[in-house]
């Protein structure tokens, strides 16, 4: 009797149905994240439980030249790659939005770099960037443009540029295809209205397309920044953080310190130190880009 009443109550039933999802989140997301954060405040080693050491790991990392370099590398990598990915992605989306021959096929092909597993495409780039066997260098030498092979991954700044380029290649399709989906939701009547008002193509883009697209841009760029900031595989295959730690990102350094070096606490602290940056990126995109007033043609206060 009471059981049937229990199951007929919408509120309790709703709660019951949410329990599995809640449990999954708790066990597989909240707990590991909490554990990771907690580890960052201990001196845990692999194979040995740690003791609470407060902010010791963080002060230690702050004084560590390699950790500071990895922070710089990560910011550089994320900012440069994300901006270029956005520009190229938007451009590609606008092109794909026009009527093209073999439209579906072309759109599918554009997604390819994103579909190929990162580890595989990274291997391809590893060959492209090889100091001795690079097909890029080979081609340039054969064309007589350069005399010596380029050591793409052998010079700190060249290496940073090379890994950023590989990341862009991989990330542009995601941005482009998602923005394309956004473009297709924009009502043609808006463009017709703009045409009637005598708007130029540029004005249409600036006053119709872009404002209508901002919510999608906010979401896509948030994801893109998160993916880039936490990138691991590409660096690990291409350089392992070399040369001279010039491409070590916080994620790769964290792995190197925690798992290969055994300093779990320190690695966890390094990973935890990424969280504020990620939060900042999310907050920026939500509060900075999802401004209703601007979208509806008004202006911010």
């Amino acid at each position: 009797m009471s059981l049937s009443r229990f199951f007929n109550n919408r509120n309790t039933l709703g709660a019951v149905f949410m329990v599995p999802a809640g449990l999954i989140l708790l066990v597989f997301l909240t707990y590991p994240l909490g554990l990771g954060t907690w580890l960052g405040f201990t001196d845990a080693k692999i194979g040995r439980a740690g003791e609470w050491v407060g902010f010791e790991n963080f002060t230690f990392l702050f004084g560590d030249s390699v950790a500071r370099l990895s922070l710089f590398n990560t910011l550089f990598y994320t900012i440069v790659a994300s901006i270029i990915k956005f520009v190229f992605g938007l451009w590609l989306a606008l092109l794909l939005n026009k009527t093209l021959p073999f439209q579906a096929f072309v759109r599918a092909v554009v997604l390819l770099p994103f579909i190929v597993p990162t580890a595989l495409s990274a291997l391809a780039f590893w060959w492209l960037y090889d100091a001795q066997f690079s097909v890029l260098s080979w081609a340039l030498v054969k064309m007589g443009l350069i005399d010596n092979y380029i050591t793409f991954l052998g010079d700190p700044w060249l290496a940073r540029g090379s890994v950023v380029a590989a990341n862009i290649w991989r990330g542009v399709p995601f941005v482009a295809i998602t923005l394309l989906a956004g473009l297709q939701t924009i009502s043609p009547s808006l463009y017709e209205a703009a045409s009637l008002d005598g708007a130029t193509e540029w004005q249409k883009f600036w006053h119709v397309t872009l404002p209508m697209l901002t919510p999608i841009i906010a979401v896509v760029m948030t994801f893109s920044v998160l993916f880039t900031f936490t990138d691991f595989q590409l660096i690990y295959v291409l350089t392992r953080g070399g040369p001279l730690n010039a491409t070590h990102l916080m994620a790769t350094l964290s792995f190197q310190r925690a798992i290969l070096g055994g300093a779990l606490g320190e690695g966890a602290a390094l990973a935890t130190a990424m969280v504020p940056f990620l939060l900042a990126a999310i907050l920026f995109s939500y509060f900075g880009l999802q401004r209703r007033a601007w979208q509806q043609g008004g202006s911010d206060k």
Binding site: I46, G47, V66, Q132, Y149, Q256, R257
Partner: protein, 443 residues
């Protein structure tokens, strides 16, 4: 790392068998065996073992290891399940097993592993003494890795040794009859090779194996060391500076791009004929020997192996990928696990396994110097002495978290790379390494 298939293995072992017949069984080992105390192990009834070993670098390793396991199971009735993992995945897995208190009974780990959780490991002093007595004794470096205090906590399996792999014809064209044995000679050779357009190439990227191996050798050869006997960081020393100045001169003779090199790069460059000297395991030689491409196969006779040159310290200062068997205290069948580890180290199993691994792993026990694999092909011989010439990665301090962390963080490799490439002066590079190492060696 070369791929070595079953057919190659058969060919290689046929050659080795012929070698055995010619040389005869070494009498020394047998004589010592008579005086050896017997090892009294009583494997638990119905014991089942789980073993974790690093994934092969050469196919023959795994084939014969598995065959030996089968033999063990047949003789003792103990069931053994073996898992293979990439060599860099073994450390975290072993550590987790130690931490959680469950997992494989036996794990073949690397370098400092046993010293990260010595209290979690079974005392295997009896096994080590038995094997040591029977097979001519352990090399010194094995005691450093195997023992904690005065008891043994792991049984060394050997080391994936490296030598200076070089092209004989290029060396001769550069005016050297044989490979230099000292630092000055080696630098002169590299300069001459560079002048002939057939340069040297050594990995200076974050290359776990090759980079660590030659950078440690170089600094140690000049008397530099990360820490002293009491684990005080002493890397910033006049000896280190000398080594780094040498590195700078040496780097000038390298092929471009070595700062980006990871472990596989030197193999590829060597087999393509782009470099004339590098440090590597025996795999390059076997890749050439078993190549289908006639151009590469032709190179086989021209490949020479030489021990790392000896520096002003006057002794071998090599670093090789050292591996050891650890039995965890949580095992339900400690006697069976000991029996297994012992069985794999006995001559009947170890020598054929070493042969099938084409000498990729150098023995920790002196008696196996007489294994015909080292003489059946004279080119294998330099690899015989790798463990003998080896210095532990923690030199001159103790193995543990600090030494493991310092090596995993490439402190030595980065220092050499910074000074060699000129991005930092030798003094600055040494100071930076000192600051980084001190963080690991803080009390």
């Amino acid at each position: 790392m070369s791929n070595f298939n079953r057919r190659d293995f058969l060919k290689a072992s046929a050659g080795v068998a012929a070698g055995t017949a010619a040389v005869g069984v070494g009498g020394e080992a047998l004589a010592q065996a008579k005086g050896a105390p017997a090892l009294n192990l009583k494997p638990e009834k119905g014991a089942k073992l789980r073993v974790l070993k690093w994934k092969r670098f050469v196919q023959g390793d795994e084939d014969l290891f598995n065959a030996n396991i089968k033999k063990f199971s047949a003789q003792t009735g103990i069931e053994v399940r073996i898992d293979y993992e990439g060599f860099e995945d073994v450390r975290p897995k072993a550590a987790v097993a130690a931490n959680v208190g469950s997992g494989p009974d036996v794990i073949y780990g690397f370098f400092d592993d046993p010293h990260l959780y010595p209290e979690k490991l079974l005392d295997v002093t009896d096994v080590a003494n038995y094997l040591g007595n029977k097979y001519g004794g352990w090399y010194d470096v094995c005691k450093t890795y195997g023992m904690s205090g005065n008891k043994w906590i792991s049984i060394p399996l050997g080391a994936a040794g490296a030598t200076f792999v070089h092209r004989i014809s290029h060396m001769q064209a550069a005016g050297f009859k044989e490979f230099p044995k000292d630092m000055k000679g080696f630098l002169d050779l590299c300069k001459a090779l560079k002048a002939k357009g057939t340069p040297a190439g050594f990995a200076l990227g974050n290359a776990t194996g090759d980079g660590n191996a030659w950078c440690h050798w170089l600094v140690w050869a000049f008397g530099g060391r990360m820490v002293d006997e009491k684990n005080n960081v002493v890397i910033n020393s006049p000896e280190t500076i000398k080594a780094l100045e040498y590195a700078k001169e040496l780097y000038a003779t390298f092929i471009p791009g070595t700062l980006s090199w990871l472990d596989p790069n030197n193999n590829k460059a060597f087999l393509d004929g782009l470099i004339s000297v590098t440090n590597n395991g025996i795999s390059v030689y076997y890749a050439a020997k078993n190549a289908t491409d006639p151009k590469v196969k032709e190179m086989t006779a021209d490949i020479g192996h030489a021990p790392f040159p000896i520096g002003p310290v006057g002794r071998g200062t090599e670093l090789h990928l050292f591996t050891e068997a650890m039995i965890f205290k949580y095992t339900k069948a400690p006697q069976a696990a000991k029996a297994f580890v012992t069985f794999m180290m006995e001559k009947e199993q170890y020598e054929p396994w070493q042969q099938a691994s084409i000498g990729y792993v150098t023995q920790p026990l002196k008696a196996y110097e007489s294994n015909p694999i080292w003489t059946s092909d004279p080119k294998n011989t330099p690899y015989r002495d790798c463990v003998k010439n080896m210095t532990p990665n923690s030199f001159a301090g103790k193995l543990g978290y600090a030494s493991a962390g310092t090596m995993a963080d490439f402190v030595m490799v980065n220092m050499v790379a910074e000074a060699a490439s000129g991005s930092k002066s030798p003094k600055e590079a040494a100071e930076r390494a000192e600051a980084r190492a001190k963080r690991y060696y803080k009390v």
